[in-house]
Amino acid sequence: MALAPSERNANSPYPEDSAQNCPRTLSLLSPEGVRVVTGEDAARVADIDDTALAALYSKMVVQRRIDAEGTALQRQGQLALWAPSKGQEAAQIGAAEAFRESDFIFPTYRDHGVIHSRGVAASEVMRQWRGASHGGWDPHEKNLAPVQIIIGAQTLHAVGYAMGAAFDGNGGAAVAFLGDGATSQGDVNEAMIFAASFKAPVLFFLENNQFAISEPVTLQSRTPLVDRPRGFGIRAVRVDGNDVLAVLSATRDALARIDAGEGPQFIEAVTYRRGAHTTADDPSRYRDTELESYWEKLDPIDRVEACLRSRGVDVEAVLATAGAEADEVAAELRAAVVSMTEDDPELLFAHVYSEPHPRIEEQRAEYLAYLAETGGDAA
């Protein structure tokens, strides 16, 4: 089982890490808000001055607000479900900050910060959670696949995209988001094999948030997850996933290596899911308060605030701006959700196939005729 927080390696939030068992974890912003400014990892984010850091801070605040709004909307019966991302803001915002428009992203259902960063409209994001669609946005317009619910399946899609980039030689990269639970899936292991064999320009971005619903990461792996990709011939680094600068630095480095033709890259961002798995989950059944408070102190947003404050930035002004933006995004989300009326039964049949299909057309006609006969009340 995981070590008690007091027994853990202070440099690693990874539960199994003792002083004897701890791969290097890149850290550029300590939980107390102290920023590392020397070394090549720090140099990669040297352009992030106080203003840019404040902007990252705002993005994280907005993500947390989107998350809180999602949970609230679900509690109010407006959404079918919500998958909270609280605690994972630095991992998602830090990674997304490094992405280029041309990078094709394959997200999971918890990557709200990544999805928001691609400019997806609230009305599109929420369709899935509302139960109006299984997707929401145009993947080709945003270079963003629909969120994947089958754990790990999207990693193969990302690798396939990247194989295509390697085959057609027209540049571009893919990013596969995955969680710690996903690393146990065959698809993820197959994805790493294909990525390595075809030297595919793909970044595996693992958000190790410590839990797969109720199962601790130690059930998925007895060794640090960052050690696995090396066995496939993939360079892997571990970063403090609650450190937005470390995540940004590592992601920039990984994408630069991909662009330089070094092939697939892997980042393990060690973070913590501070909320429930979904709004249907009850973490109090499987996590104790000691663990919760241990991670609360490592919160990704608080440390940026501490850093900005220590540097004399007018944090109240930053907070006010971020808060106003968060309010606006939250209001947009809410308005989009409550105005969603996509319950036209035609939609059942509209996109099962791209080309005409006699059986679907027949069943559509049959059901619409039934609705017409019954005055539509049967639905």
Binding site: F104, F106, S133, H134, G135, G136, D138, P139, H140, A145, P146, I150, A153, T155, L156, H157, A158, V159, G160, Y161, A162, M163, G164, A165, F167, D168, A174, G186, D187, E190, A191, I193, F194, S197, A350, H351, V352, Y353, S354, E355, H357, P358, R359, I360
Partner: protein, 347 residues
Amino acid sequence: MSTTKLTFAKAINAALDTALEQDPRVLIMGEDIGKLGGVFRVTDGLQAKHGARRVVDTPLAESGIVGTAVGLTYRGFRPIVEIQFDGFVYPAFDQIVAQVAKLTMRTDGRHRMPVVIRIPFGGNIGSPEHHSESPEAYFVHTAGLRVVAPGNPQDAHDMLLQAIASEDPVVYFEPKRRYYESAEVDLDALASAPSMDQAVVRRSGDDVTLVAYGPLVKTALEAAELAAEDGTSVEVVDLRSLSPMDYETLTASVRHTGRLVVAHEASRTVGLGAEISAVVTERCFEYLEHAPVRVTGFDIPYPPAHLEEHHVPDRDRILDGIDHALGRFDGIGLAAPAGASVEGGAL
């Protein structure tokens, strides 16, 4: 019109070659399809001609093959994947039924899935376990997929090109025991070929409709020939498209003959015979002169090679099924011979 004598395998090879030639977005991927030309040599020579980036040998991971094909569609490719044997497709089942089949609906039609999944299927080749299965019903049951099974080299060629041109995912079942049988094939007849969605009446008849697909089409035609010698006129319908099924051709034939026999190698329970019998019963009830008869593999795992001749329907079992459909066993107290289901008896 000029024809060439081609084996089933060569007809598929010719279609793949044409597709690779005509469309730079097409690529084929699978295990051993490159230098070796596939374990059945269906892709023989294609890598040498089109290169290793378009005829791609993959690691031995079926989910990986199909899953990366999904990703390739996001990049604009039109992948054709080869699953080496029917019994090897199950590791890819999730990617096929939960991803390939559903992504068009998941994206509200904004992303299309022009993927062809080629699967050699069926038995009677004397192979070990997992090499002789007929898993088509799993895929026919899955909304979002199209499923076809050609029964002769001409169809193998034309239907594969139609499948590759489709914007929808197509599972393309190849009757592996027919791979090396030859027929005259017109490689330029695509424009006048029937749509892959359509069934085709291979032999007209008046007394009973016999429906088959893939490897059993030839067996069905042979059975019909033998039946004709006994004075029974059998209409043979080559189903070709397993999903969607061509109800119009099926029902038109049964309305004419009043009797239905369906033959397939796959197990009986919830096999295609069940669906065809249901459809025909629903739509041709008043025309039926006898309950539909299914001649199928048994509800058992595919047996060891030395027993497979008992499992796979042959001409005699099909003829027996025809006799049942004609009521020749009705009311005389005979137990139903193996392989011919007569649930429901005479109407």
